[in-house]
């Protein structure tokens, strides 16, 4: 609960900080804010479950864990944003404030106990992201991405809202507990189309946010068009929050109709995996590939949701951590590399931009490699255990065909993740010298170390909640 309040206030403070002459204090200040939010988040550790805001917001360890992921990711992303100093037109204070506000939205989604909280959270997060996506005002790609994201996002909100409305019509409440009570008691006897339609529409709205197929089409375009730093933000925080919300929704309220919805999620999971993995193979742009990769990871997470078994919760948390860490590193390195190289006046975001990276900057090549290995799910990285827990949750439910297809698809995944490694280690390139700021370096090292640490000792994270 504290982070919501804190971040709302600090977001406004950040806006005011923007008026100050010395731009340099902005970045440390935001980092400090985030650090504070992160710290206060854990005040309530093991104290839950607690309910806030007229029982509309729930704080338990799961909420706090997701909050932790989201806040830590935000911290790292802010740290590698470098204060937007290389862009004269940028408005750092506004960007940071929007990021902080969107975090509030994310946290609301994570801990929602009431549909209002979910809706507001989704909208706060989304609206901030629309703006950030279009923050590169003069860049047509950024504009286009913003418009696409906005139009489709609003459309999806509409769908979601209608779903909530139908649910309300069916159950007479927005409260998760009330819905759960309705579902587990009355539902069994009379099938209610209102309930089913509402659930499906609500799920579809949420699945749009986590970019599951066939609602994924915005993802590659938006990820590509948005400034990379906000792409990072979207692909980590939005996704984590989205899955946290989906998990809470399904596990809390709709276990009673599991038989109804699991197959939908399973089919969408498979479809998402295929679209994400296969789509990624044909990309030449690393950034766009990461968008597809984001889609495919949504697919893996959906497998865990499909099963909704004992390990699912753990799987989603672990997977989100692993995924966020690696994604931040991947985009972080991309930003550094593409800053050095341009193609037609744009930053070069193709695989080829990484050619010869290992020779020029072995450090970056190494952290990139670890990130890719983790995303590909190679053992001794956190990503492996993420996949492991995901498959485990399906196996626990006795669903084998879904992970079997996922396994096939993750083989495909190796192909496109390794292209970066190959480019950076095995190809000759003409990269200039890359300077890595200390903050930046610390984030990359931290993320890499954590990736390996969780890979070696998954127990550190697993079983915490």
């Amino acid at each position: 609960m504290y982070p919501i309040v804190l971040l709302s206030v600090l977001g406004i403070v950040t806006l005011f900080l923007g008026f100050s002459k010395s731009k340099n204090i902005l970045l440390p200040a935001v980092l400090l804010f985030l650090a504070i939010a992160l710290a206060t988040n854990f005040f309530e550790w093991n104290k839950g479950p607690l309910l806030y805001f007229y029982d509309m917001f729930r704080v338990d360890n799961l909420t706090l864990a997701f909050n932790g992921i989201v806040l830590a990711s935000a911290f790292m992303i802010v740290a590698i944003s470098g204060g937007f100093q290389d862009n004269a037109e940028a408005e750092p204070a506004e960007y940071y404030a929007l990021m902080l506000f969107s975090l509030v939205g994310a946290i609301m989604m994570i801990g929602f106990e009431h549909m209002i909280m979910l809706f507001i959270g989704v909208e706060i997060l989304s609206i901030a992201m629309y703006v950030l996506t279009g923050s590169n005002k003069r860049n047509l790609r950024s504009n286009e991405a913003a418009l696409k994201y906005f139009l489709m996002g609003a459309f999806a909100s509409g769908i979601m809202l209608f779903g909530i409305t139908l649910l309300y019509g069916a159950t007479g409440s927005f409260d998760l507990n009330a819905i759960q009570a309705y579902v587990s008691t009355t539902q069994q006897a009379v099938p209610s189309y209102l309930l089913y339609a509402g659930l499906l529409l609500l799920m579809i709205g949420m699945l749009f946010k986590v970019s599951a197929a066939p609602f994924h089409f915005w993802t590659p375009d938006v990820y590509e068009g948005a400034p990379t730093i906000f792409t990072t933000f979207m692909s980590t925080i939005v996704k984590t929050a989205g899955f946290a919300a989906l998990y809470r929704l399904l596990s809390h309220s709709f276990t009673g109709v599991y038989d109804f919805w699991w197959i939908v999620v399973a089919v969408i999971a498979i479809l998402t995996l295929m679209v994400g993995n296969i789509g990624a193979t044909t990309q030449n742009s690393f950034k766009r590939m990461m968008a597809y990769s984001g889609i495919s990871h949504a697919g893996y997470l959906l497998i865990a949701l499909t099963a909704l078994s004992k390990p699912t919760q753990n799987a989603i948390v672990f997977y989100s951590v692993a995924y966020s860490l690696s994604t931040i590193v991947a985009f972080g390195v991309l930003m550094l590399v593409s800053k050095e190289k341009t193609l037609d006046g744009q930053p070069d975001e193709r695989y080829d931009a990484f050619n010869g990276l290992a020779k020029q900057n072995p450090f970056l090549a190494f952290v990139m490699t670890v990130a890719m290995l983790s995303l590909a799910g190679i053992p001794l990285t956190a990503g492996f255990w993420g996949k492991f827990f995901v498959f485990s949750s399906a196996a626990d439910r006795g669903i084998i065909w879904v992970p079997a297809i996922a396994v096939l698809m993750s083989t495909v995944g190796i192909y496109y993740y390794f292209r970066v490694i190959i480019a950076s280690y095995l190809k000759e390139g003409d990269l200039g010298e890359i300077r890595v700021a200390p903050f930046y370096k610390i984030v990359l090292i931290l993320a890499t170390v954590l990736t390996i640490l969780f890979g070696l000792a998954p127990g550190l994270l697993e079983g915490l909640i």
């Binding site: 001794l380 083989t411 280690y425 095995l426």
Partner: protein, 482 residues
């Protein structure tokens, strides 16, 4: 604890190698590998074959999930760990004639690889097994892809994805098995042995394992990555791949497939043996006309591993013991052969048999070593290859007479292509490529001599090794018979 040390030592040595820089990387790596060998020998001296799994180490890794970092050695593991520890220093020593760019990375990767291999052989927990099984792939991929030949990128990439693809099936099977364990789930391999699975699920697990290990070894028809990869990789990587890494597959069959899914074996064992036998013949026949020496050995290795697999699937004492001793023998022979080829390549700049000839006149010592290794490889009695092939063929023959007879063709075909290799490179009139060919240097002899000694040791007194694995094998076979 000793087992853990065996796994950690190469990692530490690898890190040190990475740190010391290119100039002294070789030496440091060699010392590290020798230390590992010393440790392995010490473990051997402390080992009691009859006592089952020893030097066990267990660290609760994922306490809640019942997954622990479990490692320990029984007879089978010990032999393969010894093989790894024995071959690694030799592989490192074999590179002393070369300078590899980024030497420290090169040697540390070899050591990491060796650690992962030891990990696979020592794992007593299924997920630890899987972990190292996959982890071994990373260093070898980089070794092959960074320091390999011209086409390396495409070929090693295919190799990587292909083998990864296979092992992911194993992962699915392992997770499935894990959830079949009663009570608090556990991934301890011995717990998997106790499972009473239905025939249907055994079939499913059988094929998942089969595909994983068949790609790794490789078995027909999953082998197409192998000749290319062997050919394009730098020789030390080829040695690691063929000498040790393919044993992971055979070991996996022995350790996981046989005892966990005996019913699956009963149902599909015949098919598996047939595939293996096809591989033997197919690989041998292709080897006959190869001109590239490395590719020739690659196909021969493919054929040999087919025989090992056939013996394992036959699931008899002879077959398993044969496969185990043949793993040792094959590791030694193939490393030696690849080294000889590397020496020839180094001096003549060609691997093409058509361009070679008459080397024996220039380098009699080389040709003697070559001959001995080759004889081991064609299973001449009193060399290491014979013991394994004898036992393997006898087990396949006992399994099915026809298949045994067909598999037996390997001894004919093997001599056909191996002698052709020897004749075209060593005999005949001297080609212009071999002018000025120097005989073996001291460090080269230092690699070949231990190999040759082992060729004879295993050939003349195989009981040294057979007795180590005997109790473990009979224990496994009891599980198969259950």
């Amino acid at each position: 604890m000793l087992t853990l040390l065996l796994i950690l030592l190469p990692i530490v040595a690898g890190v040190i190698t990475l740190v010391v820089g290119a100039n002294s990387a070789k030496q440091v790596a060699l010392i590290g590998a020798l230390a590992e060998l010393g440790l392995a020998l010490f473990v051997w001296s402390q080992f009691d074959p009859a006592a089952g799994v020893q030097f066990a180490f267990k660290y609760n890794w994922l306490a809640s999930a019942g997954i622990s970092f479990g490692a320990g050695l029984d007879g089978i593991s010990l032999l393969l760990v010894l093989l790894t520890a024995f071959l690694t220093p030799l592989i490192i020593l074999s590179t002393f004639g070369h300078t590899y760019k980024n030497g420290s990375a090169f040697y540390s990767l070899i050591l990491f690889m060796s650690a992962a291999l030891v990990g696979v052989f020592a794992a007593t927990d299924a997920f630890v097994f899987y972990l190292f099984f996959e982890a071994a792939l990373i260093p070898i991929y980089f070794l092959a892809a960074v320091w390999g030949g011209e086409n390396r990128l495409k070929i090693t990439f295919k190799f990587f994805i292909y083998t990864m693809f296979g092992s992911l099936f194993m992962l699915v099977a392992l997770i499935y098995l894990y959830y079949q364990t009663p009570g608090t789930h556990t991934s301890d391999i011995t717990a998997f042995y106790q499972l009473q699975l239905s025939a249907k699920s055994q079939g499913f697990v059988f094929w998942a394992f089969f595909v994983a290990f068949a790609i790794k070894m490789p078995l027909f028809p999953f082998h197409t990555w192998q000749p290319d990869t062997y050919t394009e990789s730098p020789t030390p990587a080829t040695m690691l791949l063929s000498g040790i890494m393919l044993k992971m597959g055979v070991y996996g069959l022995i350790r996981l497939l046989l005892p966990i899914v005996p019913l699956g074996l009963q149902t599909y064992g015949m098919l598996a043996v047939i595939l293996s036998v096809i591989g033997i013949i197919y690989g041998s026949i292709i080897a006959i006309q190869q001109r590239d020496m490395k590719r020739l050995i690659a196909y021969s290795s493919f054929a040999h591993v087919g025989l090992m697999a056939a013996g394992v699937f036959a699931a008899s004492t002879n077959g398993l013991q044969g496969a185990i001793i043949q793993m040792l023998a094959h590791g030694i022979n193939v490393v030696g052969l690849f080294f000889v080829i590397d020496i020839i390549l180094e001096r003549t700049k060609t691997r093409n048999l058509d361009q070679l000839g008459g080397i024996t006149q220039m380098a009699p010592q080389l040709s003697v070593y070559f001959m001995i290794l080759l004889l081991g490889s064609v299973a001449l009695p009193l060399t290491n290859g014979f013991v394994g092939e004898f036992l393997l063929l006898s087990s396949v023959f006992a399994f099915n007479g026809w298949l045994g007879a067909i598999a037996g063709l390997t001894i004919i075909l093997g001599s056909v292509y191996m002698l052709r290799l020897f004749q075209m490179s060593m005999f005949g009139s001297r080609s212009k490529w071999v002018e000025g060919f120097q005989d073996l240097t001291f460090s080269e002899k230092a690699v070949l001599l231990p190999l040759v000694i082992m060729v004879f040791w295993i050939g003349i007194y195989p009981n040294t090794f057979l007795t180590i694995s005997e109790p473990a094998v009979s224990h496994l076979l009891q599980l198969v018979a259950k």
